[in-house]
Amino acid sequence: MTKRHIITLLVENHPGVLARVVGLISGRGYNIETLNVGPTHHPERSRMTMTVPGDDHVLEQVIKQLYKLVDVIEVSDLTDERHLNRELVLVEVAATEEKRAELVQLAGMCDAVVISVQDESLTMELADTRNRVADFIDLLKPYTILDLSRSGVIAVSRPE
């Protein structure tokens, strides 16, 4: 069954590691939907989180192939494990003065925050689960979205 898998990698903080990971996945014909890279509390390690669509067979191969990379220390598929995930979205919506109150109210209902107000638009941020971010964007569709940037999912496993 094809579903979206959340994979996290702990990798050596070496130049070229991102290219290795991305090259391996695209070179073997798999697809990366989102990808996020950042430092960890350990100066020599980075954390990557990616979402990869595929069935269990595809994911088994992706994980085994990733393990073959010398710079990859740990790979986990968090999809079916207890985990916490968040995605950040920044979205600018057209908002004339009369629409502002309505949008601010909508943002409040979704736990989004208005971070910038312009003459003709509002910029909001929301950090939430992937689905709630998607729902929020859906709610904004009746308005005019002028710009949008999503971070992709980041995730950590949740201790028992």
């Binding site: 990798v11 050596e12 130049p15 070229g16 290219a19 290795r20 090259g23 391996l24 070179g27 067979h57 088994e60 191969q61 085994k64 192939q65 393990y67 073959k68 990379l69 010398v70 710079d71 990859v72 220390i73």
Partner: protein, 578 residues
């Protein structure tokens, strides 16, 4: 612990020495001269000057396959490195241990499109097990230790070290023998005894077990263990092209090669067995044919050092991750001694019914005959190295391999041009062995320039060119599957398609003239055009202390059979066109 001051280039020689490397196949250029200068003074190391960097990689590869040691090559930046790519990919696909050192433009010029600059680590990322761009000379001792460790452990493979010129020249006091500590590289050690027990139980209850063994048996030095298991439990053995020599083909349990050009017996056995035990083989498409119908009724077990190989193409019932040598030894202890008379006898009958055969009676000079004679004249003791194409398959059919590391061939990548330089690398390792390169008139021209290297070093590598005037395997596919549209596959001057016609040449009977070419490089050239001359030519070559090139003008239309048409299943193996 050495802490004296030395340069990065000194560390390169030191790293090679630490790893036990004593022969380097290379070609210099501006970005790698500092290392060559150090080699100039390294009396304990042999430098073999090649004529094209692809030759260097294949020589290092042939050396590695023949010895089991890590092959080393040294090339310059830019074109030197890009020329090495094919050889790296060849070694990567077949899991051959190699370290390739490349020069790089000085650090401050990287990314500026400098003269002879290429993004070598970027280009080679997909064809190496790992690669390094060295930023600091202090890292060189550690990187060399890691590179040899990575190349030679787990599933072996090539590792590239790209060293900018300024790093080669920089001073360092780094310790000479650093500990290797790679958090992300943990090659398999040991195995799961539960899985081995499960497989042993499956073997003990199987009526028709079959061992399907590959290059992992060779790489893992597991031939003796494989033979012991097969004999104790009476399990017939079929090998892949990469596995040839892993089990003696003269053994009554040997079914010879399986797959697209496998023996009928082996291919039918795959369909009939009730337990298929893969050892160090990876269910390659040239082996399995249509994957859904590969061993459809058999329980499948897979022993492999590489976890990613398991369940990649075929879902297996009993996976065992581990060294072939250890796992096979453990299995041999656990399996019962069995006769399996009915199964073994059935396969013997099949072998008698469907032998790998050719027309031995004909007056014509058949390519298969030449290889059969190489087998007989050498008493089956030659170290065979092949190129890629029809001759490669005939080399698998008509020479019986009885020991590991006696058949060297580019299996995964299928690299034409591999044979001669790989044969030279093998001969460099074993100057006294009878190394015979089997090639075709297509393949040999891809790296023929390396012949001069054999001449220079007095390495008596013998080359047999089966000249059928065509890219024979291409011609065979065009004949069978492309309506005889022989585009681009006719090498000789006559019978070319209209838009490939040549004006008549002064001497177009033998173009190029391989005998003259051999002589031009200082080797001995011999042309054989009839059957009677084959044995005398081989006898003379095998007793001559010089590289000999024997060109055999063979029948053009011979096809390789048996054949499983592309996309068909193994039980659709055909024995001939008619």
């Amino acid at each position: 612990m050495t802490t004296e001051t030395r340069t990065g280039a000194d560390c390169v020689i030191e790293g090679l020495r630490e790893a036990g490397a004593d022969i380097v196949f290379g070609l210099p250029g501006g970005a790698v001269l500092d290392i060559f200068s150090k080699l100039y003074h390294a009396d304990d190391m042999k430098l073999v000057l090649v004529r094209h960097e692809q030759g260097a990689t294949h020589m290092a590869d042939g050396y590695a396959r023949a010895t089991g040691k890590v092959g080393v090559c040294l090339v310059t930046s830019g074109p030197g490195a890009t020329n090495a790519v094919t050889g790296l990919a060849t070694a990567y696909m077949d899991g051959i241990p190699m370290v390739c050192i490349s020069g790089q433009v000085p650090s401050h010029m990287i990314g500026n499109d400098a003269f002879q600059e290429a993004d070598t680590t970027g280009i080679t990322r997909a064809v190496t097990k790992h690669n390094y761009l060295v930023h600091n000379a202090d890292d060189l001792p550690r990187i060399f230790a890691e590179a040899f460790h990575i190349a030679s452990t787990g599933k072996p493979g090539p590792v590239l070290i790209d060293i900018p010129k300024d790093v080669q020249r920089a001073a360092t006091t780094a310790a000479a023998t650093p500990a290797v500590n790679l958090a992300g590289y943990r090659p398999q050690s040991g195995y799961n005894p539960e899985q081995v027990k499960q497989l042993a139980d499956a073997i003990n209850t199987a009526k028709r077990p079959l061992l399907y063994t590959g290059g992992g048996v060779i790489a893992g030095n597991a031939s003796a263990e494989l033979t012991a298991l097969a004999h104790k439990a009476n399990i017939p053995v079929t090998t892949t092209l990469m596995g040839l020599g892993g089990f003696p083909e003269t053994d009554p349990l040997a079914l010879r090669m399986l797959g697209m050009h496998g023996s009928m017996t082996a291919n039918l056995a795959v369909g009939e067995c009730d337990l298929l035990i893969s050892v160090g083989a990876r269910f390659d498409d040239r082996v399995t044919g249509r994957i859904a119908e590969f061993a459809p009724t058999a329980k499948k077990a897979h022993i492999d050092i590489d976890p990613s190989s398991i369940n990649k193409s075929v879902a297996v019932d009993i996976p065992v991750v581990g060294h072939a040598k250890d796992v096979l030894a453990a299995l041999t202890d656990l399996v019962d001694t069995r006769e399996r008379g009915e199964w073994v006898e059935h396969l013997s009958e099949q072998k008698a019914r469907f032998p790998l055969a050719y027309d031995e009676k004909t007056e014509e000079l058949l390519p298969q005959y030449v290889i059969d004679m190489v087998y007989k004249v050498s008493n089956g003791e030659a170290l065979i190295v092949t190129d890629v194409g029809q001759h490669q398959m005939w080399a698998a059919h008509f020479f019986k391999y009885t020991a590991p590391r006696t058949f060297l061939s580019s299996g995964g990548l299928g690299t034409m041009g591999y044979g001669l330089p790989a044969g030279i690398g093998a001969q460099a390792a074993f100057p006294d062995k009878n190394v015979v390169v089997l090639s075709g008139d297509g393949s040999i021209q891809m790296c023929f320039q390396e012949l001069v290297v054999a001449v220079e070093h007095g390495w008596n590598v013998n080359t047999v060119i089966l000249n059928n005037g065509h890219l024979g395997m291409v011609r065979q596919w065009q004949e069978m599957f492309y309506g005889k549209e022989y585009a681009g596959s006719v090498l000789k001057q006559e019978d070319r398609p209209a838009n490939e016609k040549m004006p008549p040449q002064a001497n177009d009977e033998f173009l190029p003239d391989f005998v003259k070419l051999a002589e031009a490089y200082g080797a001995i050239g011999v042309r054989v055009t009839c059957k009677e001359d084959v044995v005398p030519a081989l006898e003379k070559a095998f007793s001559t202390k010089a590289p000999v090139v024997i060109e055999c003008i063979v029948k053009e239309e011979e096809n390789v059979y048996p054949m499983v048409p592309p996309g068909a299943s193994l039980d659709e193996t055909i024995l001939s066109m008619v």
